[in-house]
C-alpha cells in the first residue's frame, strides 16, 4: 500500500463489463458479459435487514463496503480506514507526505555562482559556426583522399569464443563417419540354429588360416543369455577406431569444379579472320630433287626456287610456268630475291659460293643497270684491294665474275647456308654455320665489299635476319636470338628461346615481334617489348620446323615442318602497346609427300596476296590461295 496511493492499480478489475452505465442492466438478471460472451449473473444481495443484523452481530461490519462495479463486498483494512480518515480531515492520505517541505531557492541571484544573465541571446547562437564548417571541410577532404575511413565499422568481437583456441580449423574439419557396421544375422545370435555352427574340423581349419583370411566371427551356441561372455574384441575395436581417426587425413581436398571449355582462351572465329590461305590450286613442277628454298620477288609476279638437283628456277606465279633455269651444278642451299623492285637480282648460295644472278626480268634499262652492277663489281674487287675492308674480303671471300651465268660469284671459305638481303637491296648477309668469328658476313653489292660483323658470336649461328625498318641485325644461335644495333655496334637484347635447337627465325614487318621455329616442333613468338622470354610457345608440329614466315601486309604467319604440313596462323600485332598480340591458329595445309623423312622444306608468303608457297621434299612447290 505504501508504494502507491492509486486505488486503480491495486486490484485488477474482476469485471469485464466495461465502462457502461449500470442503469442499462438495472432490471436485468446480469450485469454484463464475460469474455466468452456469457452473461455475468448479479449476486443475490442481502436485504437491508440481514445487513443490519449482520452489523449488529459483527462490530466489524461497518468496514464492509459494497463495490457496485465489481458487484462484491470489500472489507476495508485498517490502513485504508486510516487513510479515509485523513482524507476526511483534509490531510494528505499518506502520513509520510510532507505538504510543507523546506523550500530551497535554487535560482537566486544571491546564492548562485553563475546567475542567469539577462542579456539577449548572442548572434552566434543563430549563425552556423565557422570553425565547425572548417572542421567539416577538413574531414570531407580527408574522406575524399582516403585518409579518413568512414565505412569502417568497428569490428564485432565474437561474443562466444573457442575455449580450446588451438583448434582453429575445427569448423572446417568435417565429421568422419565410422564405417557402417554389418547388421547382425542369424549366426550372430547367442543361440543360432545348428546349421550355422561350424564343425570342430572347420574351426580347426579356421585356426590354421592367416588372421586376415579367418572369418571375423565364429558362431557359438549358448544355452542362455547369462552365459554369453563379454565381447573380447571391444577394446581392440575401439582402439582401431581411434587409430583410424588419428591417422585419417586432416585436410580435405576440394575438387575443383571447372568446365574445361571455359579454360580455353576466347579466340575469334576463323571466319572473321579471312582471308588466309586454305586450298592448293597451283603446283610448280619441274625440279628433280627436293626444293630447299623459295623466294618471291617484290611484286609477286615471280617466284624463285632452289633445289638439291643443282638448279635454280624462276616461275611465273600466275600460270605455274617455269620461266628460267640456271644449272649451278651443286645442291642449292638458299635463294633470296633482292627486295628492291628496281634490282631484279637473285642471290643463291651453292656450296661455298654465293651467286648473284641477273634474272633479266626488269625492263631494258634495269637490266642494263644490273648488268653493269654485276660486271663492274668484279673489277672493283680485283683492282682495289686498298681499303681495309677489302683486305678482309680478300682473305675471307673472293668476289669474282662468273661468265657462265653472267653473275657475281662470292667464294667463301666454308659452306654458306643462307643469304639474307637488307630491305634496301644493297647489303646482304651470308651465314656459314661454323663456330668462328667469321661465320656471319655482310656484303655490300654496290661497292663489292665484305665485312665481318663486329660482334662476338656465342655458339653456332643458325639463322640471321635484318630488321625490316631499322638498322638492327638478328642472329640466332641454337638456343638464343641476339639482337644487335649495327649503328651503335652493340648488343640490344637477347631472346631466350628455351627450345632444343632453333631452325629459323622471322621478323614481323613491324619489327617488334619475332617468331622462332625449332627442331623440336615448337614455334615461339617473342614480343621484344614485353620480355626476353617467349610471349607464346605453340607446340604444333610433331617434327622439325623447317621455316617460319611472316606475311608482309596481312596479319598472317606460317610455319612449315618435316611432318609434311604447313600451319597458318593469324598473328595480329596492335599498335596499342597495352594490347598483347593475338595469335589464332587458322589452317593446316597438307598435300606434300614425305621423301626420305623430309616434308615441307620452305614456306614463303606471296608479298601482296594472302597466299602461301610451300616447297616440298617431293620436288613440288605448291601455292595455297584464299
Amino acid at each position: 500500500m505504501a508504494e502507491s496511493d492509486s486505488s486503480e492499480d491495486e486490484v485488477a478489475a474482476h469485471n469485464t463489463v466495461g465502462n457502461v452505465p449500470f442503469e442499462w442492466y438495472k432490471d436485468e438478471e446480469h450485469i454484463g458479459y464475460d469474455i466468452a460472451g456469457k452473461k455475468i449473473k448479479k449476486k443475490v444481495r442481502e436485504d437491508k435487514l440481514d445487513s443490519f443484523l449482520a452489523s449488529a452481530d459483527n462490530s466489524e461490519n461497518w468496514r464492509k463496503i459494497y463495490d457496485e462495479y465489481n458487484d462484491e463486498i470489500v472489507e476495508l483494512t485498517k490502513e485504508e480506514t486510516r487513510m479515509i480518515r485523513r482524507v476526511l480531515k483534509g490531510m494528505a492520505p499518506h502520513p509520510e507526505f510532507d505538504p510543507y517541505p523546506t523550500a530551497v531557492d535554487w535560482v537566486t541571484i544571491d546564492k548562485a555562482e553563475h546567475p542567469f544573465p539577462d542579456a539577449p541571446e548572442p548572434k552566434r547562437r543563430f549563425v552556423p559556426s565557422k570553425w565547425e564548417s572548417k572542421m567539416i571541410v577538413r574531414l570531407v577532404r580527408g574522406i575524399r583522399k582516403g585518409l579518413i575511413k568512414v565505412d569502417d565499422k568497428p569490428k564485432e568481437e565474437n561474443r562466444v569464443y573457442l575455449l580450446w583456441g588451438d583448434d582453429r580449423n575445427l569448423t572446417e574439419r568435417h565429421h568422419i563417419p565410422p564405417p557402417k557396421p554389418k547388421l547382425p544375422g542369424h549366426e550372430e545370435s547367442y543361440n543360432p540354429s545348428l546349421e550355422y555352427i561350424p564343425t570342430a574340423e572347420e574351426v580347426k581349419k579356421y585356426e590354421l588360416m592367416y588372421e586376415e583370411d579367418r572369418p571375423k566371427f565364429i558362431p557359438k551356441r549358448f544355452t542362455s543369455m547369462r552365459s554369453v561372455p563379454a565381447y573380447d574384441k571391444a577394446v581392440r575395436e575401439s582402439f582401431d577406431r581411434c587409430l583410424d581417426l588419428y591417422l585419417c587425413p586432416r585436410t580435405q581436398k576440394k575438387r575443383i569444379n571447372i568446365d574445361p571449355e571455359s579454360l580455353k582462351p576466347k579466340l575469334p572465329s576463323r571466319k572473321d579472320l579471312k582471308p588466309y590461305p586454305t586450298t592448293c590450286y597451283l603446283e610448280y613442277k619441274g625440279h628433280k630433287g627436293p626444293v630447299v628454298s623459295i623466294s618471291t620477288d617484290s611484286t609477286g609476279q615471280w617466284i624463285a626456287s632452289g633445289s638439291n638437283d643443282g638448279t635454280v628456277r624462276v616461275w611465273e606465279v600466275e600460270s605455274g610456268r617455269c620461266f628460267r633455269v640456271w644449272e649451278l651444278g651443286e645442291a642449292v642451299q638458299h635463294v633470296a630475291w633482292n627486295p628492291s623492285p628496281e634490282l631484279p637480282v637473285l642471290a643463291v648460295s651453292v656450296g661455298q659460293d654465293v651467286f648473284l644472278l641477273n634474272t633479266g626480268l626488269g625492263n631494258d634499262e634495269e637490266n642494263r643497270r644490273v648488268d653493269d652492277l654485276l660486271h663492274v663489281e668484279s673489277h672493283m674487287a680485283h683492282n682495289e684491294p686498298g681499303a681495309s675492308e677489302a683486305i678482309i674480303s680478300e682473305t675471307i671471300v673472293k668476289w669474282s665474275r662468273d661468265d657462265n651465268h653472267g653473275a657475281i660469284r662470292l667464294n667463301h671459305y666454308k659452306t654458306v647456308s643462307s643469304v639474307e638481303w637488307h630491305r634496301k637491296g644493297d647489303y646482304f648477309s651470308t651465314l656459314m654455320p661454323y663456330g668462328e668469328s667469321k661465320a656471319v658476313l655482310v656484303h655490300q653489292l654496290s661497292k663489292g665489299l665484305t665485312q665481318r660483323i663486329p660482334f662476338k658470336l656465342h655458339g653456332l649461328p643458325v639463322s640471321t635476319a635484318f630488321h625490316p625498318t631499322r638498322s638492327i641485325f638478328f642472329i640466332s644461335t641454337k638456343k638464343n636470338v641476339r639482337i644487335y644495333d649495327l649503328l651503335k655496334q652493340r648488343l640490344i637484347k637477347k631472346l631466350e628461346t628455351g627450345v632444343r635447337e632453333v631452325s629459323s627465325i622471322a621478323i614481323h614487318p613491324g619489327g617488334d615481334n619475332v617468331i622462332v621455329g625449332s627442331k623440336d616442333g615448337k614455334l615461339c613468338w617473342f614480343d621484344m617489348d614485353l620480355s626476353s622470354q617467349p610471349y607464346r610457345v605453340l607446340n604444333c608440329h610433331p617434327k622439325d620446323i623447317t621455316r617460319v614466315a611472316f606475311h608482309r601486309s596481312y596479319p598472317l604467319f606460317a610455319s612449315s615442318s618435316d611432318d609434311c604440313t604447313a600451319y597458318v596462323f593469324h598473328g595480329m600485332v596492335y599498335s596499342d602497346l597495352n594490347q598483347n598480340p593475338l595469335i589464332v591458329p587458322l589452317e593446316i595445309l597438307r598435300g606434300h609427300a614425305s621423301v626420305n623423312g623430309r616434308g615441307v622444306l620452305d614456306c614463303k608468303f606471296h608479298p601482296r596476296q594472302p597466299w602461301l608457297f610451300t616447297a616440298g621434299a617431293d620436288s613440288v612447290i605448291k601455292l595455297y590461295c584464299h
Binding site: 609477286g300 605455274g320 584464299h626
Partner: protein, 436 residues
C-alpha cells in the same frame, strides 16, 4: 485395269504443252498431253523427238533442253516442280530449245609452246598468242596461215581490232611479257597454202612491266592494255596506211630485214588507280572500259576523263573479266578460286554477285560471254576443263575436256564454236554448238 492403276500409282501424271521459238521443222503440235512426272530432261527430249517424228517422217533425232518459267530443267519434272513450288494442276508450258553442247571436236592445232591467248571475234580466222613469243593466225583447225613475229617475250594477250570490218585486211594487236605491244596487219585473203611471216608495223612501248592484257575499242581506233606496273595505258591504234601519224613520234632506223619502217607509239593516256597487276581489261563501249586487277577490284573507267566511275571490291584476285549478257551490262569474272561470278552493276547497293558458278576445281583463267545470247558464257580453268554456262541453271551445260593441262584462255568463234588454248600447247576447237 489393275496394271493401269499400278502404273498410275507409280508415276503421277501432269498435263503439259510444248512450246518453242524454234523455226517450223522443230515446232511440235501445240496440243497438251499428259506425261508422267518422273521424266527427266532425257525423257522429255525423247518425247519431243517422238512428237516431231509423228509430224515429219524423215526427222533426225535432236537433243533438246527444256525451260519451265525461264529456268532450265536439270532434274526430274516432279522434283523440279516441288523445288520451284509450281502447281501440277494447271497445264504446264514447257519451252524447248536446242541443247547447247559441242557436237563435234576438231583436231587440236598444235603450237610450239603454251597457248596463252586466243581471240575468235572475227569469224574468218582465229588469232592465238603463244609463250614462244609468236602470234598465229589460224584459218580453221590445224591450218595456220600467218606467224606474227617480233616479240622477245611470251605473248600474254591478243586482240583483233575492228573484227567485223568488211575487207580482208585486219589489224591485230598482241601484248607480251617483254613490256611491249605490237600491231600487225594481216591480209586474210592472201593465203597461198604456206605459212607467211609478218613483222609488226608498230611497237607500243610505255609499260614498265609485263603487259598482261589488251583490249580494243569497238571501232578499233584505240587499244588499251593493263600491266604488272598497275597501270592501264590507252594507245592510238595507228593504221598502217597513215604511218606518218602524229603519234609515231620517232621513226626507228630502218632495218634491212624490215619491209616497212617500224613506228613506235606512246600511250595517249594512262589510267592510274589499281594498286596491283591489272590482269584483264575489256572495252565494250566507246567511252567506258572495265578493268580487273590482282588488288581484288573491278573498275569501270571513263576513258575521256580517266576517272574510275565504279570500283567494285570482290575479295579475290581476278584473272579474267568480260562484260556482256543482258543489254551488255553484266560483268563476269573469274580469279584465284574455282567460282565464276557474275555481277549486275545496275543493281544498287549490293556488291554480292547475282550468279555464282562453282563447278570448276581450280583457278579460272578465262571467261567470255556469247556475242548474241544473253545467257551463255564459256569459262576456262586451270583444272583443264572448259565449261559452257547458261544463266538459267546452276549446272554447266557442257564440260569440254579436251585439254590435258591447264586451260589458259577460251573464246567463242563464229557464234557456234568454242576455242580454247592451254598449257598442253594445243588450240582446241569444239564446234556445232547451237546457241539460239
Amino acid at each position: 485395269m489393275d496394271i493401269d492403276g499400278d502404273a498410275e500409282e507409280a508415276s503421277r501424271r501432269i498435263r503439259v504443252r510444248f512450246v518453242t521459238k524454234l523455226k517450223p521443222p522443230y515446232k511440235a503440235p501445240p496440243t497438251s498431253i499428259a506425261i508422267p512426272t518422273n521424266l527427266t530432261r532425257f525423257g522429255l527430249s525423247a518425247l519431243v523427238n517422238n512428237l516431231l517424228k509423228a509430224g515429219n517422217a524423215d526427222w533426225k533425232i535432236e537433243a533438246f533442253d527444256f525451260l519451265i518459267d525461264g529456268e532450265l530443267v536439270r532434274m526430274s519434272l516432279e522434283e523440279f516442280l516441288l523445288a520451284k513450288g509450281i502447281s501440277a494442276e494447271k497445264i504446264l508450258e514447257i519451252e524447248y530449245i536446242k541443247a547447247v553442247a559441242p557436237r563435234k571436236k576438231e583436231d587440236p592445232s598444235l603450237h610450239d609452246d603454251w597457248v596463252s591467248a586466243v581471240d575468235g571475234s572475227n569469224p574468218r580466222f582465229i588469232l592465238t598468242g603463244c609463250y614462244d613469243g609468236f602470234g598465229r593466225i589460224w584459218k580453221t583447225a590445224g591450218v595456220c596461215t600467218h606467224l606474227l613475229e617480233g616479240h622477245t617475250g611470251a605473248i600474254t594477250s591478243v586482240c583483233i581490232l575492228d573484227p567485223l570490218g568488211s575487207d580482208g585486211r585486219r589489224v591485230v594487236a598482241t601484248a607480251s611479257k617483254d613490256m611491249t605491244l605490237r600491231l600487225f596487219e594481216v591480209n586474210i585473203e592472201e593465203f597461198q597454202g604456206q605459212l607467211k611471216k609478218i613483222q609488226s608495223f608498230q611497237t607500243l612501248r610505255g609499260h614498265n612491266a609485263s603487259v598482261q592484257c589488251i583490249a580494243a575499242e569497238p571501232s578499233g581506233a584505240k587499244i588499251c592494255s593493263g600491266s604488272w606496273d598497275c597501270r592501264i595505258n590507252v594507245w592510238q591504234a595507228n593504221d598502217s596506211d597513215s604511218g606518218g601519224d602524229f603519234m609515231s613520234v620517232k621513226k626507228r632506223k630502218v632495218d634491212i630485214e624490215d619491209e616497212e619502217p617500224k613506228s613506235e607509239g606512246e600511250p595517249i593516256s594512262t589510267l592510274v588507280g589499281h594498286t596491283q597487276c591489272v590482269s584483264s581489261v575489256v572495252w565494250p563501249e566507246h567511252e567506258t572500259l572495265y578493268s580487273a586487277s590482282w588488288d581484288h577490284s573491278i573498275r569501270r573507267w571513263d576513258v575521256e576523263t580517266g576517272k574510275d566511275s565504279m570500283n567494285m571490291y570482290c575479295g579475290k584476285v581476278i584473272n579474267c573479266l568480260d562484260v556482256g549478257g543482258e543489254s551488255s551490262s553484266l560483268i563476269a569474272a573469274g580469279g584465284s578460286d574455282p567460282i565464276l561470278r557474275i555481277w549486275d552493276p545496275r543493281k544498287p547497293g549490293t556488291l554480292a554477285p547475282t550468279f555464282q558458278f562453282s563447278s570448276h576445281t581450280s583457278w579460272i583463267s578465262g571467261c567470255k560471254w556469247h556475242d548474241n545470247s544473253w545467257y551463255h558464257l564459256v569459262s576456262a580453268s586451270y583444272d583443264g576443263k572448259v565449261m559452257l554456262w547458261d544463266l538459267r541453271t546452276a549446272w554447266p551445260l557442257a564440260v569440254i575436256d579436251s585439254h590435258e593441262d591447264k586451260v589458259l584462255c577460251a573464246d567463242w568463234w563464229k557464234s557456234n564454236c568454242v576455242i580454247s588454248g592451254g598449257a598442253d600447247s594445243k588450240l582446241c576447237i569444239s564446234s556445232e554448238i547451237s546457241v539460239m
